[in-house]
């Protein structure tokens, strides 16, 4: 699989943040396909090919999930728990990408099996740098887990 066929699922409800994250991908020449889920339930529907995402059944799962914590309907920790609780998704690297650096968020995220925790800085130049490192590591350096059996 070549690097740019590796897809990213961005779970982000804030349109500004989503747009800025996409911009950061572009600025770092990360041309991977990106899907965006706007709330926690949509993220799980996408991953498990449910409801509006029924047609996704059998399609490859994302290589990397970027997960915000504060989300409508089901929050990021709930999403993470569901991802880790399902055979199909439990090995997908999840990077928590969020505003908070509250200790409780860090502890809960790692306890639930987050692979990494990145705080979005206010300074966009720093954010671009963070996304760059994150992309290099998770999409290039890191060996992805073997393809899971899709439903």
């Amino acid at each position: 699989m070549d690097q740019f066929s590796k897809s990213i699922l961005l779970v982000e409800d804030n349109e500004d943040d989503a747009k800025l994250t996409l911009r950061a991908f572009k600025r770092n020449s990360m041309l991977n396909p990106v899907d965006i889920a706007r709330d926690g339930v949509e993220a799980l529907d996408f991953l498990f090919a449910r409801n509006v995402y029924m047609e996704r059944a059998g399609k490859p799962l994302p290589t990397l999930i970027l997960l915000d914590l504060k989300l409508p309907k089901l929050d990021g920790l709930g999403v993470l728990k569901a991802i880790r609780g399902d055979e199909r998704t439990k090995l997908i690297p999840v990077v928590v990408l969020t505003s908070s650096k509250e200790e409780q968020d860090l502890i809960k995220s790692y306890s639930l099996g987050a692979n990494s925790y990145v705080r979005k800085p206010v300074d966009f130049a720093e954010f671009i740098e963070a996304v760059k490192l994150l992309g290099i590591y998770w999409l290039t350096t890191n060996q992805s887990p073997p393809e899971p059996i899709t439903s």
Partner: protein, 429 residues
């Protein structure tokens, strides 16, 4: 000590009710009656009777040995014994919690440097020395139930000032205690609710307030990058100002969160090597600005009883300030040490930097208060607010001494019993 077997106090038989004695008092016999004296005696008698008949206060008088001689109505009601059950039979220690007696005896032995037995002696020792003594003690009723009593003890003395017995006046403290507990519980609950609210507030500040700032900064940068060639210098300057302001507000939010964290985090008090922490921070400040040459004078062996993580934050802020404000000094020196003020160990961080005018230092420890212009010395003005909050959490004090152009010294102390350098004195020796 020789103990008088007989209580010489009352002429009337007080051991079984007191009412009959009222009105029986005859005063002087034949001859001229001293009316004033009689009046006084009637008064005293009435007072005595009122005290002894009070149903809410137990009055117990003992001989010098502690054996109960008088057991009033209140005592009967509170303790469930009839006067006849106890008079000439037991001491008040027999109806007190024995473990509390042991503890009280031990405490008194320490205080007075003399062995005191965990019996009646422990109840009256202070009174026997003429010291006013009111204490709380668990009393045991005839049926075995217990209640907290507040007891006041007075020694009874004869005309030669020799102790002939003791008067123990007590009352049931249950209701007052429950009230106090309820009050404490209420304020604890309020406090917990407030704390939760504060937590929720900082959580939401942490999450929600930064988002819009990211957008302002991010899209300003996007404009600069994508349309920079279409903007003149003033246009670019405006965008850069938007970015700088967003980033500044991001820093302010982070500072606010740090301040609230200094208030909320748990205190784990232990021995902290202040000299080591200081050297550590001094090293990293030196690494961050290799161009600067600052002379450090750090007293060795500084130790403080405090929370190590919070104490590091205190030193980090004080030293960073000293470092910053000596930036323009010719031969910058930063001194860290301790001095003794009475029984208190006072630590200090002193620099020979720009200092400040104490007259303008009213808000020195206030959040976001600054004594210098941002273009001279950058900062948000949160450091000293955090330092003060941490010191206050250690029940200590912090203050400053400074002179414009001649440097500043910050002094702080922590609660005495926290302090490791205070010698433990062996009370027995």
């Amino acid at each position: 000590m020789i103990v008088s077997e007989e209580m010489t106090l009352p002429q009337t038989d007080l051991s079984h009710g007191v009412n009959e004695s009222i009105g029986q008092f005859q005063g002087g016999s034949d001859g001229i009656i001293d009316i004033d004296r009689q009046k006084t005696l009637v008064m005293a008698e009435a007072l005595q009777s009122a005290i002894l008949n009070s149903p809410n206060f137990s009055s117990i008088a003992t001989d010098a040995n502690g054996v109960i001689q008088i057991f009033n109505v209140g005592a009967e009601r509170l303790l469930g014994y009839a006067a006849a059950d106890v008079i000439n039979k037991i001491t008040p220690a027999d109806i007190s919690d024995s473990q509390e007696l042991v503890a009280r005896a031990a405490a008194l032995s320490l205080e007075f440097h003399t062995p005191i037995a965990p019996g009646f002696e422990a109840l009256v020792y202070k009174a026997s020395r003429g010291i006013e003594d009111i204490y709380e003690l668990t009393k045991i009723r005839k049926d075995g139930s217990r209640f907290p009593a507040v007891v006041s003890v007075t020694a009874l003395r004869d005309a030669q000032n020799a102790i002939i017995g003791y008067l123990l006046i007590g009352t049931d403290n249950t209701a007052r205690r429950q009230e106090a507990f309820a009050r404490i519980e209420r304020s604890n609950r309020d406090l917990a609710a407030l704390n939760e609210e504060l937590k929720a507030f900082s959580y939401s500040v942490s999450h929600d307030l930064r988002g819009p700032l990211r957008a302002m900064d991010g899209f300003s940068l996007a404009l600069l990058e994508d349309y920079g060639d279409k903007l003149d210098d003033e246009g670019k300057d405006s965008l850069n100002r938007i970015r700088a302001a967003s980033q500044h507000m991001g820093n302010l939010i982070d500072d606010m969160l740090r301040l609230s964290k200094a208030t909320r985090s748990e205190l784990n008090v232990t021995d902290v090597d202040l000299s080591a922490i200081t050297r550590d921070i001094a090293d990293s400040l030196g690494r961050e600005s290799p161009g600067r040459s600052v002379q450090w004078a750090i007293e060795a062996g500084l130790s403080v009883r405090a929370d190590p993580a919070l104490m590091r934050i205190v030193m980090q802020n004080l030293l960073q300030n000293a470092w910053k404000f000596t930036g323009t000094a010719d031969a910058p020196v930063i001194r860290v040490g301790a001095l003794q003020r009475g029984a208190t160990q006072v630590y200090f961080v002193a620099d020979n930097g720009v200092g400040f005018d104490l007259a303008h230092a009213e808000g020195l420890f206030g959040a976001f208060q600054r004594l210098h212009r941002a273009d001279e010395f950058p900062g948000t003005g949160i450091g000293l607010a955090i330092v003060q909050r941490i010191i206050h959490r250690h029940e200590g004090a912090i203050w400053a001494d400074a002179k414009q152009g001649e440097g500043a010294t910050f002094y702080f102390s922590v609660k005495e019993k926290n302090n490791g350098s205070v010698q433990q004195v062996n009370p027995a020796g």
